[in-house]
């Protein structure tokens, strides 16, 4: 078990390094192929009508004259051992993981990321709770009452749910519930949980429901399919034959087996979501990681882009690792090798 985890962790780190190299390539190397000079790169980050001297100083400051490999090495070093930052009146320690300093605001990237995590995490957690509960229960009921009106309506709605782009449902929900009826706050509302839990939930209600609607659909369909499959299995028949109550059969035996694929899907979905729900956060202008990544790309703020990409990928990797470990708990047939 422990060796397995260690092996997986090493694999995960290797994977993140590959991802970091690709990201670095896209943002640092591709512009150079397109003919960008260090000065051209630096002139993105200066004030208006800056003199050539200013541009030169900034290019030097940001290390654009160094070979790309050296720049990448500096980036890796920052992450693993930290970095030092000379801000003029002194030297600041940027402890590992140091994702560097924004090219534009000069603020360290890591605290910014940490700062935005609660937003994305709150969004993902609340939505996940709704969609898992709603999706799984609708799926179970649909499977048990296969062919009924409930089954047809809920499966139809589920299919509609997966077919709707979030930026459309999000916008409609804002127009109707926020701007029209005034029931929910307008986009951009965010209160930290520790400040006011009720306000926190109220602000996130609309994004939660919209996001959950999108995902619940998939879970309902998956649960229904899984239930239909397992309920036909021999051991279910055996359980019934033993005289177990139907509820118990459904929950203990049917649902448990159907949960395995749900868990996998959930791991991937949740991991991707906490890495930044880009579209949802853009639609509702929530100050989370997704919005941060869009802003970073738009501003070409490379350290921010690197940071948010790696953090996002990291979440996916960790989520999938946790899912794999949970398998062992849920499904006794699974052996970790």
């Amino acid at each position: 078990m422990v060796t397995y985890i260690i092996r997986r962790l090493i694999g995960a780190i290797a994977m993140l390094i590959v991802i970091s190299m690709v990201t670095f390539g896209i943002f640092y190397v591709v512009p150079q192929w397109a003919g960008a000079t260090p000065e051209a790169l630096a002139s993105r980050y200066v004030g208006r009508a800056a003199t050539p001297e200013t541009v030169h100083l900034v290019a030097e400051r940001l290390g654009f004259y160094d070979p790309v490999v050296v720049q990448y090495g500096r980036f890796l070093k920052g992450i693993f051992v930290g970095a030092e930052y000379d801000y003029g009146a002194g030297v600041e320690q940027c402890p590992a993981p140091c994702f560097g300093y924004s090219f534009i605001s000069g603020q360290p990237v890591w605290p910014d990321l940490v700062d935005r995590m609660p937003v994305t995490f709150s969004l993902a957690l609340g939505a996940a709770l709704i969609w898992v509960v709603a999706g799984v229960s609708v799926g179970v009921i649909s499977a048990l009452r296969r062919g009924s009106l409930f089954d047809r309506i809920s499966m139809g709605t589920a299919l509609a749910g997966v077919s709707l782009p979030i930026f459309f449902t999000g916008m409609i929900s804002l127009v109707v519930f926020s701007y029209g009826l005034g029931w929910t706050p307008p986009g951009g509302a965010w209160t930290d949980f520790t400040v006011n839990p009720a306000q926190w939930a109220y602000n996130l209600l609309l994004p939660w429901i919209t996001l959950a609607f999108l995902f619940a659909a998939g879970y309902a369909r998956l649960t229904r399919a899984g239930m239909l499959e397992t309920m036909g299995e021999d051991y279910i028949r055996t359980a019934r034959a033993k005289g177990l109550r139907e509820n118990r059969v459904v929950v203990k035996h049917g649902l448990r087996a159907a949960l395995t694929p749900i868990l996998t899907l959930f791991g991937i979905d949740f991991g991707l979501l906490i890495g930044g729900a880009v579209l949802t956060e853009t639609t509702y202008t929530l100050p989370g990681l997704g919005q941060y990544s869009i802003l970073a790309i738009r501003n070409q703020d490379l350290p921010q882009v690197m940071g948010v990409t790696l953090v996002a990928a990291g979440f996916v990797v960790v989520a999938s690792l946790i899912v794999d470990l949970l398998y062992a708990v849920v499904d006794p047939r699974v052996r970790l090798s």
């Binding site: 980050y45 605001s105 603020q107």
Partner: protein, 588 residues
Amino acid sequence: MRRKHALAGAATAALALVLSACGGGGGGTPQQPAQSASGGAAQPAFDAALTQVFNPSTKKGGTLKAAHSADWDSLDPGDTYYGYSFNFGRYYWRTLTTYKTGPGPDGNTVVPDLAEGLGEPSADGKTWTYKLRSGLKFEDGSPITAKDVAYAVARSYDKKRFPHGPSYLNELLDWPKDFKSVYDTPDVEYKSAVEATDDTTVVFHLKKPFASMDYIVQMPMTAPVPQAKDTAEKYKEKVVSSGPYKFETNEIGKRFALVRNDQWDAATDPNRPALPDRIEVQLNVNADDLDNQLISGSVQLDIPGTGMQPAALGKVLPDPALKARTDNPTIPRLWYVSVIPDTKPLDNIDCRKAVMWAADRVANQTAFGGPLAGGDIATNVMPPPIVGQEKFDLYTTPENKGDVAKAKEALAACGQPNGFATTMTFRADRPREKALAESMQQALDRVGIKLTLKGFPGSSYFSDYAGNVNYVKQNGVGLATHGWGSDWPDGYGFMQAIVDSRTIRDAGNYNLSVKNPEVDKLIDQASAELDAAARAKLWVDVDKKVMEDASILPVVWAKSLLMRGQGVTNLAYNEGQSMYDYMLLGVQ
């Protein structure tokens, strides 16, 4: 949206030796802004705050709630270059001079702030001396001395750490060769550039004579910084106030709050009524949401001051009660299309003229927001608020909708009777520029000029794309959307950076298309002209020459539709700031 821009290479014989008329105007007799208000209107009406103070008041107290749809470039007075930042910053900093507060044309003149009077130039115009008032204090109670001002100027020289701020003083002052930065070369004296000869005297030493020093020193580089509390790049997190308010909290990128600075003495400051007790600023607020909050009153001040979003305009303009809360000033800004002569066949002037004739100015104006939110149709380069501006039109077309026949004539003269194909760039994150590009495509299509439209991120538009000489050449960019604003209400301040071909370098250009030796010659002539009126005339000639050259297609002279906040008193549009004068504001 940046309003202020540098007089790139301000060294500028431009205003040399000429103590311009406006430099001396209004000096010496600062007035209480509330008193300077001529009458004032309590009844909301469209444009009510343009020429007089709206809802005048001297009532102190309350909280002013402000919001910003993006973030500051920096709160550090040495590292900021946004118009709103210059305007708002005066809550927590004081500079040697400042724009005269209040409405009307006087707003374009400068008056003393930290200084007792305007600057005293030496006979050769190369030395400027400012005397500080007495009784000035930082928020910590320590006195503000001339040394703190000189130090602030010297630290702003460090463009490595403060790349955002203007470069005027870097260019103008006589910096020692071995002086790099107050942090990197702390032992090098910078007396040859700026010095404090005693506690109340700041002396600037210029490389060349420069007339309008008083305008330069109203910029925040002269806001005093106590050396002991200077944390270089981190100073923006904790700026030591010299103005009537100081930072209570400052969460960069999110919000900050200003509270009264009890060390500020109103007796030393005739410009700031300092009415609210507290000013709260929210950053990175969704722009549409900000408008809604401004309408409803939960936000009272939209800090960027560039006007409302389209969704809000659709709500405000048809509603007389809401429209009565707005002001619609013309600002010193031109939106235009650069017609780039490096790209064939636009190297031929007749092909450029074909573009001028074919453009549908009304459609372009609509694309840019229409007559209220966008601006008036521009017929030449210099916008009306620029001193000495003249309106003329070399390409008059019926109803301003373009003249297909004349465009075809021009195409024939250019040897492309069936038209040609070229690329037009725009900033993809600016919907108005996209709409403008689409409108140009439609209009030019009428004469067979086919445009391929390409959007690029605004953050690298000038560094990587439209302002990058190699990119433009390799990709055959013929047209590029562009906008330019001035903080300098004269011809030089507005025109030089966008029409002088000698400013062009490899990347990061703002002059994309004007490469005409005759224009350059006229610029030099205007710069050498001593008489202000004759100089203004020469700038009009520059303008005419550029229009003859057909390398700039003007679109609109920008107007902004500003909304007065609910419960805000003492509102007035200030021409120098080209937005509301934030210094005057109070709350009911």
